[in-house]
Symmetry: none
Subunit: 225 residues, 4 copies
């Protein structure tokens, strides 16, 4: 009945429900991050959210749904961040590969730096339903498409463009993830940004002619020497 309200907000009921949902998700993030997936029990999550177990199940049909919601949130956030970076990158000169890559890498780093432990749980430890896996793959495909367009990804000798693009995307993703998630003498985030960018840019910049690693024995000549 918000007949003349300027802010077309959700009705109180819904607004509260939305907030409770958030609270559960936040609690789940904390619990999963701390205890991992298996030990992140629904009871613990409910307690952490300050709710009864029954209430939790009024918002999510089962434990997996909570996980999926969390994964989707992070996927969306990641896609948004990287997408924004890509848009920004397009405004930079085509030949300034470093700056372009850096923008994208930074987005990835920001996404991962938030809660590495949670990321670990969400994307490695927990059993994700096939459908979610498919979405994840689709997202990566989209990222590959962006990479092709954004970076000068060309066939280089034996290597097809698609392969190069996928290597680029996978490198950024996995390297950032590993460098940040791997505990202990954590690498300073700035170093991560700089080095991952370097890895990608150099991979793409190398003069194919001077540096063909296509066959294990291409080095033959130097060996003969």
């Amino acid at each position: 009945m918000p007949s003349s309200s300027l802010s077309p907000r959700k009705s109180p009921v819904q607004a509260r429900a939305v907030e409770t949902r958030r609270r559960i998700l936040d609690a789940a993030a904390r619990v999963f991050s701390r205890h991992g997936y298996a030990a992140g029990t629904t009871n613990r999550i409910a307690a952490e959210a300050g709710l009864s177990i029954g209430s939790l199940y009024q918002y999510f049909p089962n434990k997996d749904a909570i996980l999926v919601a969390l994964v989707r949130t992070h996927m969306d956030d990641g896609a948004a961040a990287v997408g924004a970076a890509a848009v920004e990158a397009r405004h930079l000169p085509l030949d300034d590969l470093t700056s372009r890559a850096r923008l994208v890498v930074d987005a990835f780093v920001d996404v991962h730096a938030g809660d590495p432990a949670l990321h670990q749980v969400l994307f490695e430890q927990a059993p994700r339903p096939p459908e979610l896996l498919a979405e994840l793959r689709a997202l990566e495909d989209a990222a590959v498409a962006v990479a092709v367009e954004l970076l000068p990804v060309a066939d280089r000798g034996t290597t097809a463009r698609a392969t190069t693009a996928r290597v680029v995307v996978t490198t950024i993703e996995s390297l950032v993830h590993r460098l940040i998630a791997t505990t202990e003498p954590a690498m300073p985030v700035d170093d991560v940004r700089r080095e991952v960018t370097a890895v990608v840019v150099r991979y793409l910049s190398a003069d194919p002619g001077a540096l063909d690693p296509s066959s294990r024995r291409s080095s033959k000549r130097s060996v003969e020497k």
Copy 2:
């Protein structure tokens, strides 16, 4: 009770025990690979090993010990394979970076290609005790040390040698793992070998002067130049 100094063999009893241990570990590998960690129950492992659950517990104090043993085995195998590759690589000329890197990358690929699903379980999905994580880290440190010695890892501008070396090691590890373990249109193993090698070699070969990604905007000027 080594009866003769010439035959340092284990007594029959011990030998049998060792073999049973192996059987359990092999069974666990198969079970974890197929079902994941959580669904890889001790009973299933015992059944797969053709043992009673009681017997299994005479060889391992608990489920975690099985996992740890498995992880250690794979760590050792990996270390051996990479170590052997490193030894071989040392015989190649210092400037044939590609061949040297390729040798190491191949070792990593071989280690991962065997049973990607198991690797996933052992190194991502299962909750590993802190002590094991420490060992893992030590192993990586050793790998970094080898990398420093084996590859022409030098300080490049802002980047300390240790950082470069760690990036190299992490890149190989995570990229190979991801490229092989990530299901679906799996990348041909040969492509993986070639491209990972390329990534590493180019990262290390780039002329530091011409390609300094140290600051996000520094590149602009070089472009204008």
Copy 3:
């Protein structure tokens, strides 16, 4: 507060309450019929009635009360229908047993044919409180009394009149119920009417002398006779 003695109607408020009660009961009937007692949750009933769960609990103190109300309704309906049939039957000649029985059987069939699944839930599946069971028994006793009066139930050899009457009532009840509720190649309702009537009539009509099943072996001789 009946404002006028001429209109013994309930006040609007009460009338509405009565109607809401009805709505709940109807909804419960549908839900129990479809899902059974256990799966017929109060929330489902409330939803089916277009009410909030809170409102439902303003009309019934608990789930069992709903069931009891439903059972009572059906008991009353049944009693009314059978009672009416009995009244009508009394107008038929005493010796037209078939018509008299048929009238009663038809009443039973009509009662059961309406919603067999619901009947099943109400009278077999759901746990009925002892007090309700007592009412049920009382009702049956009444039916027995009617049977004694309506049908020529007389002592027959070893069998007391009360027993015969109870057998008649139970036969009609259970046979109609079973023949109609038992799924699958359901027997046509008309066959049910005819056969159940036949069972009862023949049971009551048989020449007691010619057909004494009182002892297992006594019959042999009578056959020989």
Copy 4:
């Protein structure tokens, strides 16, 4: 290792397992009989059997399996008892309908008299899987077949033989069940035996010509007479 035992019993292990199974089933029978299906929790059954809940689940995969086992047992027992009675009945002269019927009725009574409350739970209250229902129907069909053969079931006017046979079977079943299961002033079992037999025999013996209840209004004329 029962190499030379005269009684080819199951090995100790199996024998014990079989006995434990029995204990669980017996406990379940008592618990279901006392508390009904819903309130007959697996924990209660385990406790009643003097076992831990874990052990119970080593013998039955879930609660329903226990119910099904119980139902099957009773179906088998019933089929055996009735079958034996049928065999015995066949040795009686064809025209001694009463004795033949009595034999069968007695079998039914014996089956039901054991634990009426449990029967109620097993065959009315509990949710039985469709597959079990199918078996139940098959069993009834078999019973109908036996009835056709055993008793002089012939077409009588409007009524097909199949209908008559089914009515006979259903009458015995439902009447015995109801007469015995219905609590309180329980009818003496001997009365049940005698009267149910009478109902069936008279249903089958009546002179079809003299007693045709085929149409509701056929009686009108006789009234007018």
